[in-house]
């Protein structure tokens, strides 16, 4: 072995050792930091899990009162929407102790109730005198009960939500645009009330120059990974009279799921996607839509009411530049349901403290503050207050939307049903495979298979 190489080798050894020593030092430091952070954790502290979005910030603000009143500290685990269902259902299914309180989606109720992820709250409600009559019946039905509509409560309605729309009021009032629109369509440029009008408006704005910037028609949901495109498509399906099953014969889907109206709605949504969305709009959900709207790219945006308080406050597109509307109608009026109830996780070691939080949260005073901070209370003391409609520019629309909400399957097998729909819808609308009728037929096949596995067919 030539000695030059030997020397290199030795240098290398020294370098590696130095590197290792630095690494070991860093590791040790991390260990110390980790240990000390464990040591400072309070005993009386509960963790609340929810999605990372505007209302979560409002809840943090609200919950300071809870800590002040009870001395119980609050920790939060907020997960961004695209990962929320995935992460949190995984957490529940693994029997994890991360969350003491869970603000989970309405569709999780069936599974969480059947598999014992959530604590049943009936006894607790009776003991503490919390009455479900204090909450809007539609929200109790959607966010609390399983089996649906029975007085078995697994959650307290926490956050009412539905899918709505916002539009650029300032663009809608530009005289030259109004004139041109009238010439083209023979009617005034007003917020659309039907899907047909919505597409006209969107195509009118698509590719137009406004204030020296190219703008586009509408930001709609097309996301593949979680639930995005399903939520978007159903907001067109429901107004076309879509039903999941024969109301008299449960799980009979033939000629309901693939009705002519459903195929028409699906084609309409695909046309809207192709004609009037910004470039590259192939995988958009809530945050992509917010980005598009806040950066002044689109005239119309589909999104959850939950974001509307934040949008109204937005320094660039908020205030009198923004208008709000309910989901447009087609053959009927209907909106896609969002929103969540708050539940106690059965695996938690701190169920008592978690229940205390729910008791505190159910008070009408707290609910009023919740609404004022930007959370959508479901409490009748808030919603049925005669002045409610005037408390925010979107309050009246919210009430209207909540009176006609429809939800996806809440079955225990909901995730399977949802993923099948995500795939079929994205395959047809974005990847342009097959026809609407074929996509819906395939969807029925997938769903039938699931219900057969479930022993329900």
């Amino acid at each position: 072995m030539p000695c030059g190489r030997n020397k290199n080798l030795r240098e290398e050894i020294f370098m590696l050792k130095d590197g290792l020593r630095i690494a070991a030092g860093v590791g040790l430091a991390a260990g110390i930091v980790g240990a000390s952070s464990l040591a400072t954790a309070q005993d009386k502290e509960i963790t609340l899990c929810w999605a990372a979005w505007d209302p979560a910030n409002a809840l943090v603000e609200l919950s300071k009162d809870f800590t002040a009143a009870t001395g119980i500290g609050m920790k939060y685990e907020f997960v961004p929407w695209p990962n929320f269902a995935d992460r949190m259902l995984n957490e529940l299914n693994s029997g994890g102790k991360l969350c003491d309180l869970m603000i989970g989606d309405s569709q999780w109720l069936g599974g969480s109730a059947e598999n014992g992820h959530y604590v049943k709250l009936n006894e607790f409600f009776d003991k503490e005198g919390i009455s479900m009559n204090d909450f809007l019946p539609a929200t109790v039905y959607a966010y609390s009960t399983w089996p649906k509509g029975t007085p078995n409560y697994w959650a307290l309605p926490a956050m009412g939500d539905a899918l709505g729309w916002v539009y650029r009021k300032d663009w809608f009032t530009m005289p030259e645009l109004r004139e041109e629109f009238k010439k083209q369509f023979g009617r005034d440029l007003t917020p659309p009330t039907t899907w047909k009008e919505l597409k006209e408006v969107a195509s009118f704005f698509q590719g137009r120059e406004i204030d020296g910037k190219t703008v586009y028609g509408a930001a709609i949901f097309t996301e593949r990974g979680s639930e995005g495109i399903t939520m978007g498509v159903t907001s067109a399906l429901y107004p076309w009279g879509f039903r999941y099953q024969n109301p008299d014969r449960p799980y009979e889907m033939q000629s309901y799921v693939n009705s002519d109206g459903a195929a028409e709605a699906l084609d309409f949504y695909k046309d809207l996607y192709e004609c009037c969305t910004p470039p590259g709009y192939t995988d958009a959900y809530m945050s992509a839509n917010l980005d598009a709207f806040k950066s002044g790219q689109v005239a119309l945006m589909m999104n959850w009411f939950a974001f509307f308080p934040g949008l109204y406050k937005d320094p660039v597109v908020g205030g009198d530049k923004i208008g709000f509307m309910v989901n447009p109608a087609a053959t009927t009026e209907a909106s896609t349901l969002g929103g969540q109830g708050i539940s106690v996780v059965a695996y938690s070691d701190k169920k008592e403290e978690a229940l205390q939080y729910i008791k505190w949260f159910a008070q009408s005073e707290v609910q009023k503050k919740w609404w004022s901070l930007g959370g959508y209370s479901c409490h009748v003391a808030v919603l049925l207050d005669p002045n409610f409609a005037s408390t925010a520019p979107f309050a009246a629309d919210f009430l209207k939307a909540m009176s006609g909400v429809k939800d996806f399957w809440q079955e225990p097998a909901y995730a399977e049903l949802l993923l099948a729909m995500q795939k079929r819808m994205h395959d047809y609308i974005v990847a342009d495979e097959g026809t609407a009728a074929q996509a819906l037929d395939l969807l029925i096949e997938d769903w039938t298979e699931t219900f057969e596995d479930e022993g329900k067919l």
Binding site: D18, D86, G111, R224, G280, A415, K423, V430, A431
Partner: protein, 320 residues
């Protein structure tokens, strides 16, 4: 400070700290006992974390168990899961997507990697510095880097689109690498190529450097042309190295999950839905544990079988 005997001292200290009786007991062990004492912990760990789970997966693959519905119980359903997996056109679609991904990434990376290695083997001034730079991408976290690539691929603001648009003279927002059905399969190939070409390159370089000078010198004497030397000396001598590299990378890409999940999560539609992404959906989103176990076993048998056939071919090349 940097005495090479630091560990020596530690070992010494450890030896002194060991009570005499223990030391004598260990020290007196026969070689055979020491061998088993040293190997057993590793084998035990692998049995517990790899083999036991594998057997469990095989068992689950014959049931209709759902991990999110433990309370419901489950039944033995024979080979039904296997029949369903093999008759599922969506599964065949994901396997096709996976094959496309593996074949193209391997072909491009073999050519690029070999080409780069061949150029680097000329050892120009500063070549080791540039080699190190080229090697960096392959050591990075695919998920974290893949996530950032979605930013580079943004049609309106992404650097990739801007650069391509600039050189091709087209509008940067006129094409969508991740959103378009035709481009998305190539978008994932590009990122994988960026990350893993260095891997092929490094191994080819080792192959080139293993060729002794005298072979070329003999060829020179025989007045063989440079072209002939390349095909009859360089390529055959590097081939075993290249094949080894392809083996390692092809297995990894067949299992590919992290990079592509962060880039496209299988979209648009299902055009980049690789087998592992589909498996994750079935197992951890739909929670069809029995069904996905059957799919997992099929994938494992495929990789294992293909790798064995390939290794046989590799040995034949080596023997030549």
């Amino acid at each position: 400070m940097t005495t090479p005997s630091t560990l020596d001292k530690v070992a010494d200290r450890a030896a002194r700290a060991t009570p005499d009786s223990v030391a004598r007991r260990i020290g007196g062990l026969s070689d055979k006992a020491v061998a088993w004492l040293f190997i057993a912990p590793t084998i035990t760990l692998l049995l517990a974390i790899n083999i036991f789970p594998l057997i469990w997966t095989v068992y689950l693959s014959f049931t209709n168990y759902k991990a999110n519905r433990s309370a419901r119980g489950f039944q033995w359903i024979g080979t039904r899961n296997y029949e369903r997996v093999l008759n599922d056109s969506d599964i065949w679609h994901t396997l096709q997507v996976t094959a496309h991904f593996v074949v193209w990434t391997m072909s491009i990376q073999v050519i690029l990697g070999f080409g780069l290695a061949w150029l680097l083997n000329r050892q120009f001034k500063g070549h080791s510095f540039w080699t190190t730079l080229i090697l960096l991408p392959m050591m990075l976290s695919p998920a974290v880097v893949g996530n950032f690539w979605t930013f580079l691929y943004q049609p309106q603001i992404g650097l990739f689109n801007y650069v391509i648009g600039f050189f091709a003279g087209i509008d940067a927002s006129s094409f969508e690498m991740l959103g378009s059905v035709t481009l998305a399969p190539w978008a994932i190939v590009i990122v994988d190529t960026w990350m893993w070409t260095p891997y092929l390159m490094l191994i080819c370089l080792a192959g080139l450097r293993s060729i002794p000078d005298y072979i070329y010198e003999a060829a020179e004497v025989d007045r063989a042309s440079a072209w002939r030397q390349f095909w009859s000396i360089t390529v055959p001598m590097v081939l075993p190295f290249l094949m080894l590299a392809v083996l390692f990378r092809a297995i990894e890409n067949f299992k590919m999950f992290d990079l592509v999940v962060e880039l496209t999560s299988g979209g648009p539609g299902s055009v980049t839905e690789l087998a592992s992404i589909n498996l994750k959906r079935e197992a951890f989103e739909k929670w069809r544990t029995g069904y996905s176990s059957a799919f997992a076993i099929i994938l494992f048998v495929t990789v294992f079988g293909a790798a064995n056939i390939y290794v046989k071919a590799l040995n034949r090349v080596k023997q030549r």
